[in-house]
C-alpha cells in the first residue's frame, strides 16, 4: 500500500490514466494536422516552399512501388515498438525502455542467427523466440525492480536503455562475433533470414524478373520481408490478449486502479512484472525482425537508433491501441522515409520530420488546449 502511494507520488499514475481516457480520435487527428502546420511554418521560416516540401514527401512515398515497399519496411519495427509501449501504457506502465529492449532483441537475434546452424524455418523460430525471451527479461527486470523496490519504471528503463546500447556495442567487439575493424557483426545465416526471395533475387532468373516486371520487380529492389505480417499478427494478439482474456483483464485492472485490483484478489506485483515482460518481448521481436529481414547484422552504435523512442510516439499518436499503433506506425514510417527525400528534392533538412513528430506529441499531450481551440471555434 505504502509503496503504491510512493509510486503515485513520484510520477502521478492517475495523470497518465486521465490522459489516456481523454485521448480520442478527434484530438489525435487535430494534433496530426497541427503538427503538419507547424512543419510547414518551420519550412517557411527557413525559406522553403512548404507546398513543394510536402509534395516532395508525398512523391517520396507514393511515386514508385519501391518507395511504398520501403515505407512498409520502415514502418514495421515502429509498429511493433509502438505495440510494446501501448501494451505497457494500457496496463498503467510507461515503457520508455522499448529502445533498450529492441537493442537486446536485435543483439540476441544477430547472435543466434550467426552462431546457430539450423534448418530453415526452425532457425527463424529459434531466433525470434530467444530474442523475445531476452528482451522480455530485460523489460521484466524493470518491472521487477518496480514491484519489489518501488523504483519507477521510467527511471530504470532509461538506465537499462543505455546499458543495452553499450552491451550491444561491446558484443560487436567480440572476436568470434564482430568483424574486426568494421564495427559490425558477421551476417546471420541464410536460414535465419525472413527476406522474401532473398537468394533468388541474385540468381539470373531473379535479375531477369526484376528487369522485366515493372511493378513487382521494382518492389523486389527493396528488402521485402515477412516482418509486416508479424506486426499485424502481433497487433491482433495484443488486442485479443488485452480485451478477450482473463490475463488482459487483470493487467488492465491493475493499470486502471492498482488498489482496487489488489482488493479484487489480483497480484499487483506479478501483474507489473508480467506486463513489462510482454512489453519487452514485443520490442525485442521488433529488433529481431529488423535484423532477420533488413540489416542481417548489428553494428556499433554511436547513439540510439531511436526505434524505441519512435515507438513511444507511435503509441501516443495511436491512442495506445493495437490498430492505432498500426496506423500511427505507417504514418511515422511514411514520414521517416518520405521525409528523407525532402533533402534531395528541395534541399530542406529532413529533421523537420522530428520537429513535426515532436509537435504532434506535444499537442496530443494537451487535450485541454485542443478543446480550448474547439470551444473557441464554437463560440464564433
Amino acid at each position: 500500500m505504502k509503496k503504491d502511494a510512493r509510486l503515485k507520488k513520484r510520477f502521478n499514475i492517475r495523470g497518465i490514466k486521465d490522459f489516456l481516457l481523454s485521448g480520442s480520435l478527434g484530438v489525435t487527428l487535430i494534433s496530426v494536422f497541427l503538427g503538419f502546420m507547424v512543419g510547414a511554418i518551420v519550412l517557411l521560416i527557413a525559406g522553403f516552399n512548404p507546398v513543394e516540401g510536402y509534395f516532395a514527401i508525398l512523391k517520396g512515398i507514393f511515386s514508385k512501388p519501391k518507395y511504398m515497399s520501403y515505407v512498409v519496411i520502415y514502418s514495421t519495427p515502429l509498429i511493433i515498438t509502438g505495440l510494446s509501449v501501448a501494451f505497457a501504457m494500457r496496463t498503467g506502465l510507461f515503457n520508455i525502455g522499448a529502445e533498450g529492449q529492441y537493442i537486446v532483441g536485435a543483439m540476441v537475434a544477430a547472435m543466434a542467427g550467426y552462431y546457430f546452424h539450423l534448418p530453415m524455418v526452425l532457425h527463424i523460430i529459434v531466433c525470434i523466440f530467444l530474442a523475445a525471451l531476452a528482451a522480455a527479461a530485460w523489460g521484466g527486470l524493470a518491472g521487477f525492480i518496480k514491484a519489489k523496490f518501488g523504483v519507477h519504471e521510467v527511471i530504470s528503463t532509461i538506465m537499462l536503455n543505455w546499458t543495452a546500447l553499450y552491451l550491444s556495442n561491446w558484443a560487436v567487439t567480440l572476436k568470434s562475433f564482430g568483424k574486426q575493424g568494421t564495427g559490425k557483426s558477421f551476417a546471420i545465416q541464410e536460414t535465419a533470414r525472413i527476406d522474401l526471395f532473398g537468394q533468388w533475387k541474385i540468381t539470373e532468373a531473379g535479375i531477369d524478373f526484376i528487369r522485366s516486371h515493372k511493378v513487382l520487380g521494382d518492389i523486389l529492389k527493396s528488402p521485402v520481408n515477412l516482418g509486416i505480417l508479424a506486426a499485424f499478427l502481433l497487433a491482433f494478439l495484443m488486442w485479443y490478449t488485452l480485451n478477450k482474456t482473463t490475463l488482459g483483464y487483470q493487467l488492465r485492472a491493475v493499470g486502471y486502479n492498482p488498489n482496487a485490483a489488489e482488493y479484487g484478489g489480483i497480484n499487483v506485483n506479478r501483474s507489473i512484472v508480467t506486463s513489462m515482460c510482454i512489453a519487452g518481448g514485443l520490442a525485442g521481436t521488433a529488433g529481431a525482425l529488423q535484423i532477420m529481414g533488413v540489416s542481417h547484422r548489428i553494428a556499433k552504435l554511436a547513439t540510439m537508433e531511436g526505434y524505441g523512442f519512435d515507438g513511444i510516439a507511435v503509441s501516443l499518436i495511436g491512442n495506445n491501441t493495437g490498430i492505432g499503433s498500426v496506423l500511427a506506425g505507417f504514418l511515422f514510417g511514411s514520414l521517416k522515409y518520405g521525409g528523407s527525400k525532402i533533402q534531395d528534392a528541395i534541399d530542406a533538412p529532413t529533421e523537420v520530420i522530428n520537429i513535426m513528430v515532436g509537435t504532434i506529441i506535444l499537442f496530443v499531450a494537451m487535450p485541454k488546449l485542443i478543446k480550448l481551440i474547439f470551444s473557441f471555434k464554437k463560440g464564433k
Binding site: R10, N12, M159, T163, L316, E351, I355
Partner: protein
C-alpha cells in the same frame, strides 16, 4: 614512480572534472524544475539544442561567452514550451518531455544543416572556453605545466562556474524566500496557493531555468570539452544528468556528487584508454547506469521526491 602515479591521479581527477561539468549544469536544471513539482525528461533535448546553439554562437561571434549565452537562451526557449504545456495546459509531463526531446534534437540538426551547408555538425569554434588560471596568471605561471596541480586546477571556466552554481542553487533553494517558495510549490501546491504564492509563476520560472541550465550543460560540452557540436555529441548525457539528479536525491549537492561519480567513470575510461590498458570501454560506459539502478534499488526507501512531483496543478479545481 611515485611522481608518475601522482600525475596519473591528477589526470584522472582533471578529466573527471571536465566530463562532470556538463552533467552538473544539466542536473542542477533537473533539481530546480523537479523541486517545483514539474518532471522534465526533456533535459536531453534541451541539452542538445543548447550544445548546438552554444557552438553556433561561439563560431559566428568568435567569442565562447556569447556562445554560452546563446545556449542558455536556446535551452530556456525550449523549456518555455514544456512550461506552457505542463503548467498552462495540464499536459502529462513525461509525454511533453518526450515531445521536447524530439523537437530539441530535431531543431538542433535542422538549424545546423541550414547554417553549416547541410552538415549535422558545426565547424570548429575559433576560441574555446578560456582557462581562467592561464588568463589571470599566464600559462604555466600558477602551477608547473602538466604537474598535478596544473592537471587538477587549470580547467575551463565552465568547470568553475558549475561548482559556483551548485553552491548558488543550494543557497537559493534553502536560504532564500524564493527558494522556499519553489520547494513549497513542489511539495504542496494547494497550500502554497492558499498562502498567496503563484504556483503558475513559480513553475514557469523553474521550468525555464531548468532549460537554461540544460542549455549551459550542452554548451559546456560543445565549447569546452570539445570544440564543435555534432549529432552524436550529447547522445544520452541529458539522461545521465537526470539520473544524477535522482541519485542525488533532488538536492544540488547530491547531484554534484552523483555527477562527479559519473564523470569519474568516464575519467577512468579515458585514462585506461590512454594507457592502452585492454579494458573494454563499452563495459566501463555501462557503469553509471548500472550504478544508478543499484543505488535506487538500495536506497529508494530513503529518497524522497518532492511531494507534488508530476502532479498537475489546476487552480480552478483547488480554489
Amino acid at each position: 614512480m611515485m611522481e608518475a602515479l601522482i600525475k596519473d591521479i591528477g589526470f584522472i581527477i582533471g578529466t573527471t572534472l571536465m566530463y562532470s561539468t556538463p552533467l552538473i549544469f544539466t542536473s542542477l536544471g533537473g533539481v530546480i524544475t523537479e523541486r517545483s513539482g514539474v518532471v522534465n525528461i526533456g533535459l536531453e533535448g534541451m541539452m542538445c539544442f543548447g550544445a548546438f546553439a552554444g557552438a553556433a554562437g561561439a563560431y559566428f561571434s568568435q567569442d565562447p561567452w556569447i556562445g554560452f549565452a546563446c545556449a542558455a537562451i536556446a535551452g530556456g526557449l525550449l523549456a518555455l514550451l514544456h512550461a506552457i504545456a505542463c503548467v498552462s495546459f495540464a499536459a502529462e509531463q513525461i509525454v511533453s518531455g518526450i515531445a521536447i526531446n524530439f523537437m530539441g534534437t530535431g531543431a538542433a540538426l535542422f538549424i545546423s544543416r541550414m547554417l553549416f551547408d547541410g552538415a549535422t555538425q558545426t565547424l570548429t569554434i575559433p576560441n574555446k572556453m578560456p582557462l581562467p588560471l592561464n588568463f589571470l596568471f599566464g600559462e604555466g605561471k600558477m602551477f608547473a605545466s602538466s604537474g598535478f596541480m596544473d592537471l587538477v586546477f587549470n580547467r575551463f571556466a565552465t568547470v568553475y562556474i558549475a561548482f559556483l552554481m551548485v553552491f548558488l542553487i543550494w543557497f537559493i533553494l534553502y536560504k532564500t524566500k524564493i527558494g522556499m517558495r519553489v520547494r513549497a510549490v513542489g511539495e504542496n501546491p494547494e497550500a502554497a496557493n492558499t498562502l498567496g504564492i503563484s504556483v503558475v509563476k513559480i513553475r514557469y520560472g523553474a521550468v525555464i531555468m531548468s532549460g537554461v541550465f540544460a542549455g549551459l550543460g550542452g554548451a559546456a560540452m560543445s565549447i569546452a570539452v570539445v570544440s564543435r557540436f555534432s549529432n552524436t555529441l550529447i547522445s544520452g548525457h541529458g539522461f545521465i544528468a537526470l539520473a544524477a539528479m535522482i541519485f542525488g536525491k533532488w538536492k544540488p549537492q547530491g547531484a554534484l556528487v552523483a555527477c562527479l561519480l559519473f564523470g569519474g567513470a568516464k575519467g577512468v575510461e579515458i585514462f585506461l584508454g590512454a594507457k592502452g590498458v585492454p579494458v573494454p570501454g563499452d563495459i566501463l560506459a555501462i557503469l553509471p547506469y548500472v550504478l544508478t539502478i543499484v543505488v535506487l534499488v538500495g536506497v529508494v526507501g530513503k529518497t524522497t521526491p518532492p511531494g507534488a512531483i508530476g502532479k498537475i496543478f489546476d487552480k480552478g479545481e483547488s480554489a
